[in-house]
């Protein structure tokens, strides 16, 4: 019997980009980077289910590592099933400026040389994780140009401060997210693994599948809803401050 169409032919979907930005400088060596590596594997094992539950959006995953320089793990955003994680190793400095420059390029329409969709893109999710101060002192200048990107402005941004909580370090991360509520201090490897999981999974789930709206509810596909859900889930995780 002939099917009603070729399998694989489907509806045109919106595109939701999830970006991990990972500090793999020397100080991340050991437990911290181990936790990050584990967390991303955990997230990727859950992602197919989330993708399966929605016809609204295709989820695309990207990862940027930065130490002395910033480098993309894949040269373009990957589908959930194609994104295979290779454990990162730690070495070098913390060139946040380089990471911001790469992000700026990435957060540009494809037709203009970037990686964001020309049609049907929804606000991306960016999760930055670091354990130290940038060794590139001009990071603020690079952040300024990143902030001009429309895709950056609308992105749901989280920053994880791993075992650091100096005012100076928090200032760097607060400036990145523009919202102290989405900067989290994480004290243990286990907490780090859980936090990455909660943020990446919850945000992807909420933003890839718009919920039914109720009376008086505001944004449904939006960042606020994801943020609320993440906040309620993080209540259960210990050794996190936010």
């Amino acid at each position: 019997m002939m099917q009603d169409r070729m399998l694989g032919e489907g509806i045109a979907r919106q595109e939701l980009n999830l970006l991990f930005v990972i500090d793999n400088s020397g100080s991340m060596e050991g437990e911290k980077l181990g936790a990050v590596n584990n967390a991303i594997r955990d997230v990727m094992s859950i992602m197919p289910e989330i993708q399966e539950d929605t016809s609204d959006a295709t989820i695309k995953i990207s990862a940027l590592k930065f130490s002395d320089k910033a480098e993309w793990i894949y040269s373009e955003p990957q589908n959930v099933e194609d994104f295979k994680w290779k454990d990162l190793s730690a070495e070098g400095g913390t060139n946040l400026s380089g990471a911001y420059d790469e992000l700026s390029k990435w957060l540009t329409k494809r037709s203009n040389g970037g990686m964001m969709p020309d049609i049907g893109g929804v606000a991306p999710i960016i999760i930055l994780m670091t354990d130290g101060l940038p060794t590139s002192y001009d990071w603020e200048k690079h952040l300024e140009s990143l902030k001009k990107k429309g895709w950056f402005k609308v992105a749901l941004k989280y920053a994880l401060a791993i075992q650091i909580d100096t005012d100076e370090a928090m200032d760097v991360l607060n400036k990145f997210t523009g919202n102290p509520e989405t900067v989290l201090k994480v004290y243990t490897a286990e907490a780090l693994r859980k936090v990455i999981n909660v943020i990446a999974v919850t945000a992807s789930k909420v933003k890839s599948n718009s919920a039914s709206m109720g009376v008086g509810a505001g944004a449904v596909n939006g960042n606020a809803l994801a943020q609320n859900e993440i906040a309620s889930k993080l209540d259960e995780v210990e050794d996190v401050e936010w």
Binding site: M1, M2, Q3, D4, R5, M6, L7, G8, E9, G10, I11, A12, R13, Q14, E52, D53, T54, S55, D56, K109, D118, I119, G120, G121, V122, A123, G150, W151, V154, N209, S210, A211, S212, M213, G214, V215, A217, A219, V220, N221, G222
Partner: protein, 429 residues
């Protein structure tokens, strides 16, 4: 999650055991449970619900399901912490999600089966509306399908209320009627009808009726973009005169490909709902009974290409009959037509005659009363195998009459008249 594996809850001296969590949505959590020796799905609300919501759910449970297409709440449960939940049957394993159909992971066995599913969907909403209910939140996540036979299952029935009553749900963006998006009205039967049109369009065309060129106006699809595309200024992608929002080549590929082969009368029905229905919500939107007649007509005129197996329409409602297969160009095969009142049924192998063909008041659109079969010994000889309760009379062109038993076979011969009953006389052409 509020419960863990193996937790047990006592309900009126009966034990309910949590077997395992099944999933979590915005509103609640779902568990596999055991109760009175049977397995059920238990939905538990995360937050306290209003007394109106609880009363409505209880009332729906007492009134019972409109049809077996609904996975209807069966038993209301009040928990100690002021939360409520309800038991429902488990979704049988043969059903896959409509979402998985839309994304290309699953397909119907044939176009005929897809239309059977659409007919089941319209029948279910006809019954729901006839009971005085409105569903209020039709979206891609509510529906499931059996790919082999077109059976339908409708989930998430807890927002169903008496029409014109509202308990707070508005619906999902891209499925909601524009007047709901604009916050001018609350969901009711008429907004259900709009959303039903969207689901049917998606089933047939694999796309959203309002997503086209105008998507290019927005760098990012945000709340504002969605409000404009689906609320303040929706333009049907195949609007007859306003061509500003046509599907985008290379992006809305499925819609472009599939719309081309949909019968004109179905296109008209979509146009009515998505153009006239924007302003005339009560009379502009194609109703369930209208859809049922149209899908029946569509299914009746399907023909299968003998060369490539592609199913397409014979073309009774088109400007000219379809002379060749749209997929491989093989000329349309010679076939007999059964004219039965207003119905024209292309007697291709496997074609079904249903109870609704023989009785215009019947709503049994999928109850087969006869099927076109091939002779086992001589496959080029076809007949209509009956599955009726009474015999029928046939008369050939020379006037010879014969009685065929209720489970007998009528030979397919041109100019043969078939008298199903006093009122229903068909003729093979």
């Amino acid at each position: 999650m509020q419960f863990n594996k193996n937790d047990s809850i006592t309900l009126d001296d009966e034990k309910l055991t949590i077997v395992e969590p099944l999933g979590e949505g915005g509103q609640g959590e779902v568990y596999l449970v055991e109760y009175q020796g049977n397995r059920y799905a238990l939905k538990v609300y995360k937050d306290e619900v209003s007394s109106d919501f609880r009363y409505n759910l209880k009332n729906n449970i007492d009134k019972g399901s409109p049809s077996n297409s609904f996975l209807w709440p069966k038993l209301l449960i009040d928990f100690d912490n002021d939360r409520i939940g309800y038991l429902m049957d488990l979704r049988p394993k043969n059903f896959v999600s409509f979402v998985s159909y839309l994304t290309g992971k699953n397909a119907f066995a044939s176009r005929e089966v897809m239309l059977t599913w659409c007919i089941n969907l319209c029948t279910a909403f006809k019954k729901l509306h006839e009971m005085g209910y409105s569903y209020q939140d039709l979206n891609d996540g509510s529906f499931f399908l059996d790919q082999t036979n077109g059976d339908l299952l409708i989930c998430d029935n807890d927002n169903v209320t008496a029409d014109k009553k509202n308990l707070g749900i508005l619906g999902k963006m891209r499925y909601m009627a524009p007047e709901i998006v604009r916050n001018e009205m609350m969901p009711d039967v008429h907004s259900d009808r709009f959303s039903l049109g969207v689901i049917l369009f998606m089933a047939l065309c694999l796309g959203n009726p309002y997503e086209g060129e105008r998507l290019k106006n927005y760098d990012i699809v945000d709340e504002k973009a969605e409000y404009e595309l689906f609320g303040s200024n929706p333009v049907f992608v195949y609007h007859k005169t306003d061509k500003s929002n046509r599907p985008i080549r290379g992006y809305h590929t499925s819609v472009l490909k599939r719309w081309a082969y949909i019968p004109l009368y179905i296109k008209e029905a979509f146009h009515r709902t998505f153009v006239d229905g924007l302003t005339d919500r009560e009379n502009g939107r194609t109703t369930e009974i209208e859809w049922l007649r149209l899908f029946m007509r569509y299914r009746d005129e399907l023909i299968r290409c003998p060369h490539c197996g592609y199913e397409y329409i014979y073309g009774f409602g088109e400007k000219t009959l379809v002379s060749s297969c749209p997929s491989c160009n093989t000329p349309t095969k010679e076939v007999c037509i059964l004219e039965l009142g207003k119905h024209k049924i292309v007697l291709d192998l496997g074609k079904k005659i249903t109870a609704a063909h023989l009785d215009k008041y019947s709503s049994e659109y999928n109850k087969t009363v006869a099927t076109v079969i091939a002779n086992k010994n001589n496959p080029s000889l076809w007949g209509i195998k009956l599955d009726l309760s009474d015999p029928v009379e046939i008369k050939d062109a020379s006037g010879i009459q014969k009685t065929i038993a209720a489970n007998g076979i009528i030979p397919i011969i041109r100019n043969l008249k078939i008298k199903f009953n006093e009122n229903i006389i068909g003729e093979i052409k």
